[in-house]
Symmetry: C2
Subunit: 341 residues, 2 copies
């Protein structure tokens, strides 16, 4: 990612919501990263305490977040936020006490947050409000298109993104000073060209997960996070085992995998990779602490016994990592991370 974006002269501003770890965050510095993206004021505070001075909070600001934005803006060299409506823009204009840059988020079709690129009047209204402000400065447009999570393979991801880049480039023609920032792991990982884009902020690619394998963003051997679960019970009569690995260990994210709805899949790590998938050995259901793992891979059921450990890939690494206070590396080192407040 670092090499590709350097060659393309695009700024890499990685999203740290996936790992939420000061130590892992530090690894990015070796690749020239000086500015980061997070998803909440709390997460911004955590990374601010850990040496980061250029932070984007990529979740829409509201009047309620203003005190924390002021507090962060005082400490940081550069704080960028997202402002998607005139109510919030007006409020910030009145209540900011330090310079803050903002993006307006563009909704190119995903339908979650942001304004349509065609709503020029609304975009101009927000920018006009900010021009009356001493501290609120328009920086550009931000876009996360979750539709790249709904397709599979490079061509389909490209087909989602080409019209998106066209819309964003039209906006650039209209708002000459605006920078364009885009962030999602499928397009960042799979595409080699990001026409007109100034900055990319993927996050999930630090770990990847089964969802990204299903999309085609990575290979199984690229997945760098797993949950090691004790086998509590083996049930030959139902071709399954029960793991101590439930919703509090994985989250309840699920995907369709070859026609089965799964919550995780077993893998056999070796010295070179975590990623030798045990196709057929998948988490079929989760309760709070229990994970029911179907064992359809030939040979598993005969060899497994209570007290064994299974290495299980999560469907969505961001939500799984969020449930822990630390990571353990294959060498046994403990890496601390942010815990929920």
């Amino acid at each position: 990612m670092a090499e590709k974006l350097e060659n393309l002269q695009i700024t890499w501003r990685p999203h740290f919501k996936t790992h939420q770890s000061a130590e892992i965050g530090h690894w990015y510095r070796d690749y020239g990263v000086k500015a980061i993206t997070v998803s909440s004021p709390d997460m911004a505070s955590y990374f601010a305490k850990n040496g980061w001075v250029n932070i984007t909070i990529a979740f829409p600001a509201t009047p309620l977040t203003t005190p924390r934005i002021n507090s962060l803006a005082q400490k940081l060299n550069s704080l960028r936020i997202i402002v998607n409506n005139p109510v919030t823009a007006q409020y910030l204009t009145k209540h900011l006490s330090n310079p803050v840059e903002f993006y307006i988020e563009i909704d190119a079709g995903f339908g979650r947050t942001g304004l349509k690129a065609e709503y020029l009047d609304k975009l101009n209204e927000i920018i006009s409000i900010s021009k009356k402000s001493r501290y609120l400065q328009f920086y550009g447009f931000y876009l996360h298109d979750g539709r790249t999570y709904q397709v599979q393979g490079r061509e389909n991801v490209r087909n989602v993104m080409i019209p998106v880049y066209e819309k964003l480039n039209k906006l650039s023609d209209e708002f000459k000073e605006a920078k364009i920032s885009v962030g999602d792991t499928p397009s960042s990982s799979l595409l080699d060209s990001f026409p007109g884009i100034d900055e990319l902020s993927p996050g999930n690619n630090i770990f990847f997960d089964l969802m990204q394998v299903a999309i085609g963003s990575c290979q199984p051997e690229d997945i760098a996070i797993a949950v090691q679960c004790p086998v509590a019970e083996v049930k030959p009569e139902s071709g399954a085992c029960v793991l101590h690995g439930g919703a509090v260990h994985f989250s309840k994210e699920r995907i369709d995998w070859n026609g089965n709805e799964i919550y995780g899949m077993a893998s056999s790590p070796d010295k070179n990779s975590f990623g030798n998938l045990q196709q057929g050995n998948y988490l079929k259901s989760l309760s709070q602490e229990h994970g029911c793992m179907v064992l359809e891979k030939p040979g598993t059921l005969d060899t497994i016994t209570p007290g064994d450990r299974m290495t299980v890939f999560p469907v969505h690494s961001c939500l799984t990592a969020n449930l822990y206070s630390h990571y353990i590396t294959p060498d046994g080192n403990r890496i601390e991370k942010r815990i929920l407040s």
Copy 2:
């Protein structure tokens, strides 16, 4: 619950996995509770540190948990565990260093963990192994029948449980010394008679949630937990708003509610209750930090604005509470809870 079970002379041994809070746990003492149920050795350690000396870990023990079982057994007056297979029984027989009582879990049809009540040979095999042990002592049978979560209303819950009680009573005839422990919130809340049962261990009824409302275990005004979410964006064109309330705030548990798959529902608290449900205002989808709330309740869309707060009931309070380090009461008091390690 306290009054009902006292009248029936059934021991109330509440499950603390829902609230995971020393302070909330303490409230139970006023109702005569002296022994509790938890779902992991980690959770047992937390409550042991906070003054509880009689604890059941209601998740199957494995050889891997033995060191922590030994450590807990040394500190507690009484530790009970679940042993469902000969491998674990043999291992514990060799490696326990303090007295520990165990239940064998019975699977009456739910299909998660435990042995069928008809497998007398297997039950006897485990008990025989324990008889050779200095420390491992058979206590009785434990059952959590999750099928009560798959039906609605008192009659249907009773119809699930009547054949279960019959099976357990047959076991009592066979194993005269065995005590019978049953735990699930729907049957504990809805039924008034638990024939042959010595102990009940519901947990979720400390808070209840939308799932329990859907089952009929409680009324909306009984729900005692909610997430207060800032409104980030209002989208009149799609009849929705976006909350700062996502998968890291609610978990991704979902239920069918009048034909819609929902992840949470808004409510209007007043002085008497949290539970004035805003029918039609429900969480339709969650990403990590975003919650997309459909606003079909007439009047909501016209009055809501960014920076408002919405009170939102979770689908599954156990998984939602698990995501926080503390609770805030309506009076503004902070109640600490266990955080994940």
